[in-house]
């Protein structure tokens, strides 16, 4: 593990030192991918075995760096390794047009980012955790602001840094609460596990963790940085941030609530469930009205984080009520979905990178018809789109299936209010999943299908060889995770065993059938499913061509006989999202400029913004400015005044003490 971290940092350093484009893109990034792969393999080996600990001779004098590799860390290391293998391979192709110092710095920051995330997952004391957390936050901040000449990108980067640090403070306070004031040695996670906490302080720690990690994950209302930072960053970086970095926050919540805290309370679960549902619906609703393809994906990440939080909430509720098999099921759904989201969201983000390279355009309203010019990218992105829309037999469906099964198995909790909450929550999840399909039809349809909205798109080129390799890797991961769920769940069971003390197991003896609780209750077999769909589809192709014929002519599009057709008659991205905007109008802040009937120069303009930004963040900013205005009354820049302040404070303190 530490070898992988070291080799990444060395690769980064070599890149910064040599600054040679060919060296960095052809050798260093593929080597980094190799290191990622070995990390995944190492994580896989560690998953089934007992936890290993390591104390490094680094860090504070009384608190050396503690590392621990248990099932939970190992699982997230696999996630990191597999996703970053694909993304690093892709990055080798993506950055081939960059050169000089920018590329050298980027190579360093990229690999430090990977190393930081690995260290976060390995840390076993609060100090190393915070150091790694900051390493991850800062390197990703610099990666986001790679194009720092653009003012909007600087602004996005600042917002990201701000939210990340507000979150980091909460995490630090959370560790402080759990440490319980027992000296510096108590900052190891082992001491925290052993520390007795009253329900009050445990709740305080949980709430701080939820806030701190929620800021990193993009949980409502701390999501504002995501749709700004993701589009600003280069595509492979967006892929890593969305696919992997958000999952470190999920890891943090799981680590704190199930491992470090000695007790759990039912209302934590209800809180997480409620927040998760709100985040999921909010994210997908906003994704539906976006016109920028990377912003759309960022909002879709918010939705998926919401689903993960719902899974965590369910796990907490079941665990508290002693239904540990169900808790294991909900946890499995959460972890499975983390893994899935890492794969398909990385795939989609790097795919947008290829589109950006080919066309120079992020606005979906100027794309279209790329399926003809980008055959590789269009097929691979279709896999990602079908997976994220939660369609069988791909991976998104499996985790959705598990989550819905967890809901369906829930009756019989001793708290009647939660019993009533569960069906409503299941309904909201189903709604979010159906809306995700809407969003993905829009995403794929507007970008890849139809007529070219801009004549320049006729010269778009497909993804390069390295880019393709990375995307194929991620797409294969999506397919494999979709087709072999029994195997994946068998691995996830190790995590459930170590966190909850229960295994989920597979009720079916047949490895083809996924049956988490009981074969009579529910089972699903993606391989048979795929075979059946492919079988009947193939049969219909064969029969139609045998019994009749396969003659085909090309002609002009019919379009109900309407003769003139231009690309502008197709739905734009905004047009496709219009029904959603109309149905959920109260949630948006809409600015519209529509011309009257007699306008000789009609101008259309529409913009949907996040209401929370105006209701929460801008008042908060004004408040901060006002407060700092008052504080500045004390500032005069004269030394004797400051000395007087110090003297007065001393006198006041002496009176009290």
């Amino acid at each position: 593990m530490n070898g992988v971290i070291l080799s990444w940092i060395m690769l980064g350093a070599v890149g910064l030192w040599r600054r040679d484009t060919r060296l960095i893109t052809r050798i260093l990034f593929p080597l980094g991918a190799l290191a990622s792969l070995s990390l995944a393999v190492a994580g896989f080996m560690a998953l089934g075995s007992a936890a290993q600990t390591l104390v490094l001779p680094l860090g504070l004098p009384e608190l050396p760096f503690h590392q621990r590799l248990d099932a939970l860390s190992a699982f997230f290391l696999i996630l990191l390794g597999v996703a970053s293998t694909g993304v690093s391979l892709y990055a080798g192709g993506y950055f081939r047009h960059m050169e000089g110092k920018t590329l050298g710095l980027l190579c360093l920051e990229y690999h430090v980012f990977l190393a930081g995330m690995t260290l976060v997952l390995l840390a076993d004391d609060a100090y190393l955790f915070m150091v790694a957390w900051e390493m991850m936050a800062l390197s990703s901040y610099f990666l986001v602001t790679t194009d720092h000449a653009v003012p909007d990108i600087r602004k996005a980067g600042f917002l990201y840094l701000l939210v990340a640090h507000v979150g980091a403070i909460a995490i630090l306070l959370c560790f402080g609460v759990m440490q319980g004031g027992n000296g510096i040695a108590a900052y190891t996670f082992d001491a925290m596990r052993a520390a007795p906490l009253t329900p009050f302080w445990a709740s305080a720690a949980f709430l701080l963790a939820l806030f701190g990690f929620g800021a990193k994950a993009g949980v409502l209302p701390l999501h504002v940085w995501l749709p700004e930072a993701h589009p600003a960053a280069p595509s492979p970086v967006s892929a890593l941030m969305s696919g992997v970095m958000l999952k470190t926050a999920i890891y943090g919540i799981l680590r704190v609530s199930f491992d470090l805290l000695p007790l759990q309370l039912w209302w934590w679960g209800v809180l997480a469930l409620g927040l998760g549902l709100a985040t999921a619906v909010f994210g997908v609703m906003f994704a539906a009205v976006q016109g920028d393809m990377k912003r759309l994906l960022a909002y879709s990440s918010i939705e998926n984080i919401g689903l993960l939080l719902v899974g965590i909430g369910l796990t907490l509720i079941f665990h508290v009520y002693g239904k540990d098999t169900l808790a294991a099921l909900a946890l499995a759904a959460t972890l499975y979905h983390s893994l899935n989201h890492a794969m398909f969201k990385s795939l989609l983000f790097v795919g947008t990178g290829s589109i950006l390279h080919a066309t120079g355009e992020r606005n979906m309203g100027r794309l279209g018809g790329l399926i003809h010019r980008m055959p590789w990218a269009s097929v691979l992105m279709l896999v990602g789109v079908l997976a994220i829309a939660g369609l069988p037999p791909l991976n998104g469906f499996v985790s959705e299936w598990l989550l819905l099964q967890a809901f369906l198995l829930s009756p019989g909790l001793s708290n009647n209010y939660i019993n009533m909450l569960v069906p409503v929550a299941a309904a909201v999840i189903a709604l979010a999943a159906a809306l995700a399909a809407y969003v993905m039809v829009k995403f794929y349809g507007v970008i890849f299908l139809g007529q070219r909205r801009d004549p320049g798109l006729a010269h778009a080129h497909d993804a390069g060889r390295m880019e393709r390799t990375g995307m194929v890797w991620l797409a294969l991961a999506c397919v494999a995770l979709g087709l072999f769920p029994v195997f994946v769940l068998g691995q996830i069971d190790h995590v459930a065993q170590s966190l909850l003390g229960t295994r989920l197991g597979n009720a079916s003896a047949d490895w083809m059938f996924l049956a988490p609780v009981d074969t009579d209750r529910a089972s699903y077999s993606p391989l048979y499913f795929l075979l059946a769909v492919a079988g009947v589809t193939g049969l219909s192709v064969l029969l139609v061509h045998r019994l009749y014929h396969g003659r085909l002519r090309r002609g002009a599009a019919w379009d109900c006989g309407f003769p003139a057709q231009t690309a502008r008659m197709q739905d734009s991205a905004e047009g496709f999202g219009q029904p959603i905007r109309r149905i959920f109008e109260p949630f948006f802040r809409i600015e519209r400029e529509v011309p009257g009937a007699l306008d000789t120069r009609p101008k259309y303009h529409g913009r949907s913004d996040d209401k929370l930004w105006f209701l929460l963040y801008l008042p908060l900013r004004d408040l901060t400015e006002k407060l700092s205005g008052w504080v500045s009354l004390l500032q005069h820049g004269r030394i004797h005044l400051y000395l007087t302040y110090t003297f007065a404070t001393l006198v006041v303190l002496l009176i009290f003490v």
Partner: protein, 320 residues
Amino acid sequence: MMPAPETTLAIVFQLTQLLLVVLAAPLLTGWVNQCQAWLQNRSGAGVLQPYRVLHKLFRKDAVMAHNASWLFRITPYIVFGCMWLAAAIIPVIAADLPFSRAADVIALVGVFALARMFIALAAMDIGTAFGSMGARREMLVSFLAEPALLMVLFTASMISHSTQLPSIVQALAHHEFVLYPSLAFAALAFVIVLLAENARIPVDNPGTHLELTMIHEAMILEYSARHLALIEWASSLKLFAYISIGIALFLPHGIAAVGDWAGLPLALALLVPKLMLAGAGLALLEAVSAKMRIFRAPEFLGTAFLLAVLGLLIHFLLGA
């Protein structure tokens, strides 16, 4: 490993149902159309008309727009395959369907979603105004109809403690006859979903090519000949599948239980009047209602969604 004779029998039955549904589905469509004709005081084209139309379409040369991509070409086959599979795994005659174990109710909803995704994408492929309008409207209708359908199925799963279709049907068909209040709400919601998902009045009108009202027809405007035939056939199969779900959930009496091969003739004899009744009911519903504006459709489907959630809540509250 040799499969047990019971299993072999079940597999043979599964294959029979696969063949049966694909051949019988156009007949059901023909019956609905014929009922409609009678209700409108026309003599109608006869129940066999859909077969004639399919045969005619299959013989024609296919014409495709110049800029149609591979996605446009494979979609009819995928949609047809998905719908065929969906109709074949719903128990309407006997609960012994081995393939139902591979795809439970959630996967069934997934199959419908897969087909819908492909057809919506294909509609956007040519880049005509109608195509993308149809795709947008179809997704608009489905994002409310799909969760409503899922909630209806969940209510039935809650009662039978299973998401497997055969188990649901067995549990519902062989309980002592009581009316579940939750299922009553679910049935209402299901009827609305059935109307919306099968492009029937009042949400859509399968017989129109009028710009303002098209949803499904707008998506398939550019298809011709064998591609159109497959999509029409898939629509028939979809209607058949939905009516089968309705029968399996709300009228399961008479469906042969697992291993009960002697009950098969009776089950088959009961299925025909059930299907005829459902088809006639559908035609009647369409005859007495008017097409609504597209922006009324979300309210209509929202009602279905709320009814379905209410049904599920009632089950949680009353345990029935």
